[in-house]
C-alpha cells in the first residue's frame, strides 16, 4: 500500500513568487492536514481538510491557502513568498482527521 506522497521533493523560489505543493493521501483516507516545519522546530499546523472542506486553520497569513479535490488529494498554495517561508512542508493524511495522522516525505522549500 502506498503511503502519503508529496511533490515536488525540493523547490527553490525567489521572494515574491508563488508556489504550489501537492499531496496524495493514503488510499481510503479522506482528511489531509498541512504542516510547516522550520529548522530546529516541530511541525506547525497550517490547514486541515476533510471531504473537500476546510475544517481548521492555524495561525498563518492569508498568503497561505489550500484546497482538497474530489479524489482527496490536496494542494497548498503560498503567494508572495518571503525568506521566512523557507521550510519543510509536510502533508499528513488520516481517515477522518480525528485519528492518527500519517506523514508524507515533505517538500523542502527554499526561498532566496
Amino acid at each position: 500500500d502506498a503511503g502519503v506522497t508529496q511533490s515536488p521533493t525540493h523547490l527553490i523560489k525567489t521572494r515574491g513568487q508563488h508556489v504550489t505543493l501537492r499531496c496524495s493521501p493514503i488510499s481510503g483516507h479522506k482528511s489531509v492536514s498541512w504542516y510547516q516545519q522550520v529548522l530546529g522546530q516541530g511541525p506547525q499546523f497550517i490547514f486541515q481538510y476533510y471531504e473537500k472542506e476546510e475544517r481548521g486553520r492555524g495561525n498563518f497569513p492569508d498568503r497561505f491557502s489550500a484546497r482538497q479535490f474530489p479524489n482527496y488529494s490536496s494542494e497548498l498554495n503560498v503567494n508572495a513568498l518571503l525568506l521566512g517561508d523557507s521550510a519543510l512542508y509536510l502533508c499528513a493524511s488520516s481517515l477522518s482527521g480525528t485519528d492518527t495522522q500519517y506523514f508524507g516525505p515533505g517538500t523542502r522549500l527554499t526561498v532566496l
Partner: protein, 114 residues
Amino acid sequence: EDKVVQSPLSLVVHEGDTVTLNCSYEVTNFRSLLWYKQEKKAPTFLFMLTSSGIEKKSGRLSSILDKKELFSILNITATQTGDSAIYLCAVVSLQYSGYSTLTFGKGTMLLVSP
C-alpha cells in the same frame, strides 16, 4: 494556547545505553498523545497514548502517559546507532468546530554513538 514541551532538546549516548525522553503538555480538550520518529524528512508514527498508566511497547521502545501530571515519557533500551533521530511528541486536541489538531513539541535530537 496549546503547548507541548520536550526535554532534553538534544542527547548524545553510547550504543547500549537506555534513554528516557520527556514530554509535558498543556492543552484544552485533550484527545491523545502521539510519538513520532523523524530521521530525514517524514515523521514516522511510533505510539498513540490515550489512557493514563498503560504502557505501550514496541521492541526496545516503550511509552507511558500520565494525564494527571500532564506528561509522557518515551524509553529506548539498548540503544543502537539506527535510533539516532529526532523524536517528536504531539498532542491531539479537539477544536470547537469538531476537528482535531496536532500540537508538536520542538523535538529531542538523539545521537547514538558506536
